[in-house]
Structures are given as C-alpha cells and as structure tokens.
C-alpha cells in the first residue's frame, strides 16, 4: 500500500463516519445499509419510510457525483461468475437480515457505540469471510 492509498482510505473512512454522524444528528438513525434499505422491502410503505428511499438515491448516485466533480467511475473488479454472484448475494441478504446488520451497521456504527452485539457480529463475519476467501483460493 502506498501513501496515496492510505490517505484515500483514511479520508474515505472519515467521510463514511461523517455521514453516520450526520444521519444521527438529523434523523437519530444508525447508518446500517442493510437495515435502511431492507425497510423498503415492504408492501405497506408509508410516508415515514421516505427517508429510506432518499438515502438509497444518495447511495446510488455517489458514482455520478464523483464523475461530475471530475473523478472517474469507481473501479469494480468483479471476475466472479454468476453462480458466485447469486450465491454470495443470497447469503449476504439472508445473513444480514438474520443477524440484524452488515459491515456498516455492526462494523462501523455498532463498534463506534461499543455495542457488545456488534463487536461479536463483526468478529464472526470477519472470521467466516477470511475462511471463505482462504478456501476459495
């Protein structure tokens, strides 16, 4: 890792933190992406769920905003086949719903709150992800 990559990692992480603090300050909500977006998967959505849609629009339009200020579209190297994509997607959706959170809700916001549930969740998903990568290499 060179200095530029470390600087970008620290700046990007700080922006993520800033976003989480801003959402807590304005709406009093945790920035858990799986929680925010899965709240939209309901047949009886009402006006109080509009913020979820707005957050999702912001998240989706990040690359376009980045492009607009002179950056390039994010590099997304994804050489996995469709079988992997579907299996991975199903497991990520199922697991985050069952475990009440993902990398953002547990990994960032939960650890920042020193929540014992989130600390355990983060250690567990890091461990199974490391083993999965090790076995699939």
């Amino acid at each position: 890792m060179n200095i530029d990559a470390i600087t970008n990692a620290l700046l990007g992480g700080s922006l993520i933190g800033l976003s989480a603090v801003f959402l807590m300050l304005t709406l009093g909500r945790i920035s858990g992406i799986s929680g925010i977006t899965s709240g939209l998967l309901s047949l009886n959505l009402n006006k109080s769920d509009l913020w979820r849609g707005a957050f999702l629009v912001g998240l989706l339009s990040g690359p376009l905003a980045y492009l607009a200020v002179g950056g390039a579209l994010p590099e997304v190297v994804l050489d996995k086949g469709y079988g992997y994509l579907i299996a991975g997607g199903v497991l990520v959706g199922f697991g985050s719903a069952l475990g009440s959170g993902c990398t953002s809700g547990h990994g960032v916001c939960g650890i920042a709150r020193v929540s014992p549930r989130s600390l355990v969740a983060t250690v567990v998903f890091l461990a199974t992800a490391i083993v999965t990568v090790y076995l699939s290499r």
Binding site: N8, A9, L10, L11, G12, G13, L15, I16, G17, L18, S19, A20, V21, M24, T26, L27, G28, I30, S31, L41, G53, A54, F55, L56, G58, L60, S61, G62, P63, A65, E75, V76, V77, L78, K80, Y84, L85, G88, G89, V90, L91, V92, G93, F94, G95, S96, A97, L98, C102, T103, S104, V108, A121, F125, L126, A127, A129, T132, Y134, S136
Partner: protein
C-alpha cells in the same frame, strides 16, 4: 427536510466508499486474504470511520433529540443470541465469496460492472425475503406448538 438530510447522508456515505476503494471487490478480497497478497486498506477505512463516528455520536447525543425527529432510534438490545451469531456467520461467507456487501454493492451500480452488481443486489433482496419467510414459518410453528 428529513428526506434531504437522508439524501445527503447517503451521498456522503457513497463518496466515502468510492474514495476509499471499498466499492472494488478486489480490495475487499485482498484484505480478507490474510495468507496471500494482503491489502490493509479496509482496516484503515474501518478505523477512521469508527473513530469519527464514535466521537461524533457522543457529541450528537449531548442533544436531547435529533434535529428532525422527536427521539433517537438506537438499538438497545444487548443479548448475544443464536440469530446474531448464525446470521453474521452466513453474511461473512457471502461477503467472502464475492467481496461485496450491501453498501458497496449499491454504490457501484453505476460502474463498468453494473450488470453483475445488479445481479448480486437482486440475489441479496431474494436472500432478505427468504430470511423473512423462514422466520415467520418458524414463528408460526412455535405458536402452533404452544397453542396445542
């Protein structure tokens, strides 16, 4: 105003993921590949995000309410149950298989690999709905056995 605040938060989150390279699954896989060509970037991202969030949350919580809501909606559950452990374990396997999780997936729909990312997102939605179906089935069975 609530929606504008949420839009800004989503956009900032997305820009943070893009700037830090976390929208690239290759960087995630190389972080998880501790015995191979290890790339520590994710650790720096997580560390700085946690520090900023931790300090910021404590400052925000000095207020009695958020700006646009009547109260804070922060989880209070502190019980380590099976659902949490099993769910997180399953989530980690999916994350390791592809190198994508919900935030980065949604923040890279507009990229050169958008179609593949959309397939992943569709499967993710399917997995979430499947979990709800399984949970409500188990709860119904439990209710029946209690009644009987």
């Amino acid at each position: 105003m609530k929606e504008i605040a949420a839009l800004i938060a989503g956009l900032l989150f997305s820009l943070g993921l893009i700037l830090s390279g976390m929208t690239n699954p290759e960087n995630i896989i190389n972080f998880l590949d501790i015995t191979g060509n290890w790339n520590p970037a994710l650790a720096f991202v997580l560390m700085s995000a946690v520090v900023v969030t931790g300090v910021g949350y404590r400052l925000v919580w000095k207020r009695s309410t958020p700006i646009y809501e009547v109260s804070f909606s922060v989880p209070t559950n502190r019980i380590l149950d099976k659902r949490l452990i099993i769910g997180s374990a399953i989530f980690g396997i999916g994350w390791g298989l592809v190198g994508l999780c919900p935030g980065p997936a949604l923040a890279s729909v507009f990229s050169e690999n958008g179609v593949k990312v959309l397939v992943f997102i569709a499967a993710m939605v399917g997995g979430t709905l499947l979990q709800r179906a399984v949970s409500s089935m188990i709860e119904r069975k439990a209710a029946v056995s209690v009644d009987g």
